[in-house]
């Protein structure tokens, strides 16, 4: 006889949500990074990538969305990882809150700048 499944409702803290997002962005990174590496590094080759190539690729809006999601998930994952490491060494509640807010603001500003750059596209000289 198998064990019976029991359902419980524990109080879930914000830390659980941080942990869950770490996993979700980790899986998304695999989805976005693998095609990126295979296309850019294996099929095209890094030495063949220049401004002209980027302009060609970004002419398609789907590639812009793809690149934004690639950068967004990897950057989000990295920032959450940095927060996790800092939490090991910062033990006061105020310190932890401050670090979380500072990293959050940094994350938002850099993500926004990245989004603007990608939406802005490539400005080729003389165009």
């Amino acid at each position: 006889m198998a064990t019976k499944v029991r359902n419980v409702r524990p109080a879930v803290s914000s830390e659980a949500r941080w942990w869950l997002w770490m996993r979700i962005t980790g899986i998304l990174m695999v989805v976005f990074v693998f095609p990126h590496v295979i296309i850019k590094d294996v099929i095209v080759g890094v030495h063949n990538i220049d401004l002209n190539y980027v302009a060609q690729v970004w002419a398609n809006i789907l590639w812009r969305v793809f690149d934004f999601l690639l950068l967004f998930t990897t950057f989000t994952h990295g920032m959450m990882g940095l927060r996790q490491v800092l939490m090991d060494y910062i033990h006061s509640a105020t310190g932890r809150r401050t670090v979380t807010w500072v990293l959050g603001i940094l994350w938002f500003v850099i993500s926004l700048a990245g989004a603007i750059a990608i939406i802005g596209g490539v400005q080729q000289p003389g165009m």
Partner: protein
Amino acid sequence: MKVTLKVFRYNPETDQRPRYDIFHLEADPNDRVLDLLEKVKAEHDGSLAYRRSCAHGVCGSDGMRINGRNRLACKTLVKDVGTTIVVEPMLGLPVQKDLIVDMEPFFEAYRKVMPWFINNDPPPEKERLQTPEERARFDDTTKCILCACCTTSCPVFWADGSYFGPAAIVNAHRFIFDSRDQAAAERLSILAQEEGVWRCRTSFNCTEACPREIQITKAIAEVKRAIITGRLD
């Protein structure tokens, strides 16, 4: 065989800093590291301090760092660690004297997860029944002897002493997955806090250190999953 035993010595009341005492001993390959410590204490330096009780790997008193790894001195044979043996106290807990550490922070975390059976139903006439499969679900985590080898091998615990640590989570797991227990939600709520299971970085040090070979990292992952899904299966 000749063995060089290098022992960490420190008395916070008299010493400014720790030192290592070196003893050259005659030993049998099948001697245990605990036997060497007993020999030093009996024949060389009676002031050497360490914990020991059953000396058979059951009580968990003599957890210490032997050649850089947390082990029980009574379960570690000389032939398995070589002829130069360095013995140090476990990391992450304050040293009281020589190889003795203050275990209170460890037991404080242990008490927080309510490591006792909770069932508010009226007791049945005989025992509370459970199928062999239900018993097997938490069998691995019943083996813990609270030696602290796992918790004091955890790099997160070294940096953040308020992390519950692997041993407390293992002992919570033992009751969370017990079909007869009724306080799983409370225990999971405690472990879902900031200093709970989320601090685990799955470095597997605890699993490697456990002298009872408990699959600790797996148990921690099961607790994480139970908190997220609310399912105990």
